[in-house]
Structure formats: C-alpha cells, structure tokens
C-alpha cells in the first residue's frame, strides 16, 4: 500500500495538514430468522414474501418479526406476494456516487406489490424517465446471480 502523505490544502493555514483515510470494515450481518426465510425464498424460489398482521390487517414487506403498531408476532404469518405491482412514487437519481447501484440517470421507484400494503423501493428500468407514470404496472426481473439481498430482484420493468 502506498504510504499516505500529509498534505496541506492551502498555504494560508500554518501547521495545518490533513491525511487521507478510509473507513472500511468487513462485517457480517445476521439477517434474522424472519429475514433469512425471506432472503432464501427470494434466492431459491424467486418468491417475494410479506408478513401479515392479522390484528392490524396489514401486509408488510420487507418482512419483520413483530408488527410495529401492535407488537404482534408475525414470524409465521407469511404471505406470498405477486412479483408485479403498481408504481406509487419515483425519483430520477441524477447524481453519481459510490453507494448507488446504477450510473445516473436511473429511476428509484416505490412499488406496491400485489398482496402487500407497504410499497417497496426498487430500481425501475426499461422506460424513459420522462414517461414514468404513477399507477403504472411493473414486474420484477430477477438477478442471474445472488447477492443475498433485495438485489436478488435486479430491477423492475413495465409490464
């Protein structure tokens, strides 16, 4: 690794040096029992699962163990969601950054899948940004290779 140098940003400030560094930390994230089932179903069966709170009559995706409203245990109340849904919101991401999954411009959308009550954010492709309309029907396109995350759906595209 090249040795990092101290550098001065300008000569107006005496004895003021900075060093370039990086926050980087390999890490393991436990998906949780509920999250694990969701991710395995997504990866192996190309199924998108939600969990239903019978008390609140709401189907949540991403899944979670407890309903945030009534704390009911939802870990065995699986519902299979449709892989198509309705676009409820979107933005055209027009800036570039390392954490973004695509080069700009790309569309970040909120999609309410059939059977779910909560829209899921995801990438929308296969349509010009200017032609996107709220309410349009979109369908999940699954990724060829798994990342064991929501990106096992590679993106959504218009039906």
């Amino acid at each position: 690794m090249a040795r990092q140098k101290l550098r001065q940003k300008d000569d107006k400030h005496e004895h003021c040096y900075i060093r370039d560094g990086k926050l980087a930390l390999p890490y393991q994230y436990f998906a949780g029992r509920v999250g694990s089932r969701f991710l395995i179903a997504l990866r192996d069966k190309k199924q998108i699962l939600g969990v239903k709170c019978e008390k609140c009559n709401r189907v949540f995706v991403p899944p979670r163990q407890r309903c945030e409203r009534c704390m009911e245990d939802l870990s065995d109340s699986w519902v299979e969601l449709s892989d198509t849904g309705e676009l409820t919101n979107y933005t055209v991401v027009n800036y570039e950054d390392k954490h973004l999954p695509r080069k700009p411009p790309y569309i970040l959308a909120m999609i309410k899948l059939g059977g779910a009550d909560t829209p899921l954010p995801h990438i929308l492709e296969g349509i010009e940004p200017g032609k996107v309309e709220l309410g349009m029907k979109v369908k999940a396109v699954f990724a060829d290779e798994t990342t064991n995350t929501i990106l096992d759906v590679d993106h959504f595209e218009p039906v």
């Binding site: 949540f60 991403p62 933005t91 999954p101 909560t118 829209p119 995350t149 929501i150």
Partner: protein
Amino acid sequence: MGKRVAVCAVEQTGFFTNLWQKRFQEMAFDIVEPIIRKTGVTFDMATGIRNIITCSDDVFDARTISDNAMTDAVGAHYRGEEKVTMDGINAIGYGLACVLSGHDDIILIVGHCKESQSESRDMVTNLAFDPFYYRPLGLDFKNVAALQARAYMNKSGVTDEHLAKVVVNSRKNAALNPAANARELLTEEQVLKSPMTCDPIRLLHEYPVSDGAVAMLLVCEERASEFTDKPVWISGFANCMDSYFLGDKDLVGNFSLKKAAERAYRKAGVKNPAEEFDLVEVNDCFAYQTPMWLEGLGLCGEGKGSALIDGGGLKTCNVNKSGGMLAGNPLMIGGLARAAEAVIQLRGEAGDRQVEGAKKALAHGTTGAAGQFHSVLVLDSE
C-alpha cells in the same frame, strides 16, 4: 406550574462548507470557552457544571463513540458526559430531564458535525439504512427526500416555483445572519435553473455541505440569574418517532411531527400555533420541507403550505430568520441550530435580523430519512 429550566447562554461556531483546518474537538472548545467567559460558569463539582451532554455522529467523526475523544474540549474530564446521536435539539430535552429530576442544576450541551470530512455525506446517510433491503438499493437521505418531495408536492400543490421562493427567502434571511453558511442572494430564476439532482429536488433545494458546532448552557430556575440577566425559558419539548421502513409510513402524513407538536404545545400551553409564535425555526434540509413541516406544526392548515408561501407567510410569520437549515447547518445539529437562533432572537441579540419584541419562539428538529423523527421545542423570554 412546575419548576422551569432556562437557557442561559448559547454559542455557535458559525457554519462553513469546509472547516478542514479545525479538528472537531477544537470546534467544540471554540464555543465552550466563550460560554465560560461570558457566564462565569465553572466546572466545580459542587456549584458548577457536573454533567455535559454532547451530540455527534460516529460515522461523520469516523470514530467509535467519538465523544470519548473530546472530553477535554467540553470540560468533561472527571465529570458526567453523555452523547445524543440524534439531532442535538434532543440534548435540550435530555438536559431538561437532568435538571427537572433534581440530579443537576446546570447542563452544558455541545453538538458538532463536520460533514466535509467524508467524501460524500450521501454515503454516510446510506449507512442509516438496513443492509439487506434498503441499503443495497442506494437509498440515502437525499433520494428518499426526493420521493417524499414528489408525494408532498402532488398532495399540496406546492410547485417548483414555490420551492424557488423558499430558497430565495432562506438566502435573504441568511444574508443578515453572520453565522449562516450559504449567504449569497439568489433569484428565483437561478433556483429554477439549478440542476435537478434527484427530481423534484434541485441542487439549490439542498442544504449545502456544512461544518459547525453549537453549545448551550441550561440552568435550573433558582440559579439562572447567576449566569445571565436574559434567561430564555423552555416551556415545552416533545419528540416522536415514525416507521423505520419508508414504505411503512404515510410519506406525506407528517404523523410524528404532528404528535410531537401536539405534546410540546400542550405542555407549553400553546392553543393556536398559527398565531402565538413571534418566530419559527424549522429544520428544512430540503426546500420542500419548509412548507411541509410548517403544515405538520400546525402553522398553516393541512395542504396550505403553498398558500402560505404565496401569501408571504414565510416573511410575516418570521420563518427561519437564521436562513434555516437550507442556509447550511450540518446534519445532527440542524435542530439545535434552530433552537440557538430562537434563543438569540428571544434574547434580542439577533442584530440586523432581530424580530422586534420577540417573546415566544418555536424550534423544530428532525432526524432520519424523510422526517422519520421530529422534535418540537417551545421557548419563551418571560
């Protein structure tokens, strides 16, 4: 009425796009020192500050439990110190509890953030999301705000033109505030022509990358006069949390803001928020949030944000005389900076931007993506 707590001093560094030549510890000390000098407060364990509340973010500081690295700068050596890792306005609520519980007479609050140190603050806020469902999609506080902006604009009739007016107003006010970061005046046309970074959010709708720090001294009612002849009283504080997952919440419902406001107003005896405040400081990271938060705070009717802007309400209601977060405060202390402005105004020390005769002020803070969490503070000069 129960016992009261006063804000007896406030200091801020001023806000800058890149304070690279200051360590965060020095930023903190720069504002702690004048508080000591001006109020005569000491760190004596019997009569002075025994407990300090800091506010910062570990990722922005690139250091785990980063407050451990600044005990000397805030006078916490051999004293109590706790850190708030939410907007620093919540440190005021925390300090209030310390004093009202009788554990402390005096609390020093010090909040700081240097957004400029990271290559990208959007990368920092991307880390606020879970690692399986949202983070891999590149969600950050900007693109999530864009989703909320579209939903709000669709619902409220707030347009791109309204947002340009919001930004122009912010800059007009900031020009009179020596502490503000973005102080250059702008025209509506300049805002309307600035690039769409994440539609409907334009570059000039975003608060600029900012560095800075804010400190405050809270004191119990019995001892406030030892430190100032212009105490500002905390008459109501509340906060409220909404869902973590963006899809779970009504993006335009302002649910948590309404709940926080309701509780703060009840405690402060505010019956008609639209009429009672002499000035209002809202934590607007993006231009659409100014009218949206004003609606949630009950300062105009539901869906009346556009009418308020059209009717010149930003000016007549003295909204964000500091310039607001839009004029540049870092994340973590946007709300604390709002409270600082409110205190400065109620002390009559706001110079060219002073609201004459200001007696009652509202300061608002928000933390998290698209206003997940809101805090509301009511302050009185009497």
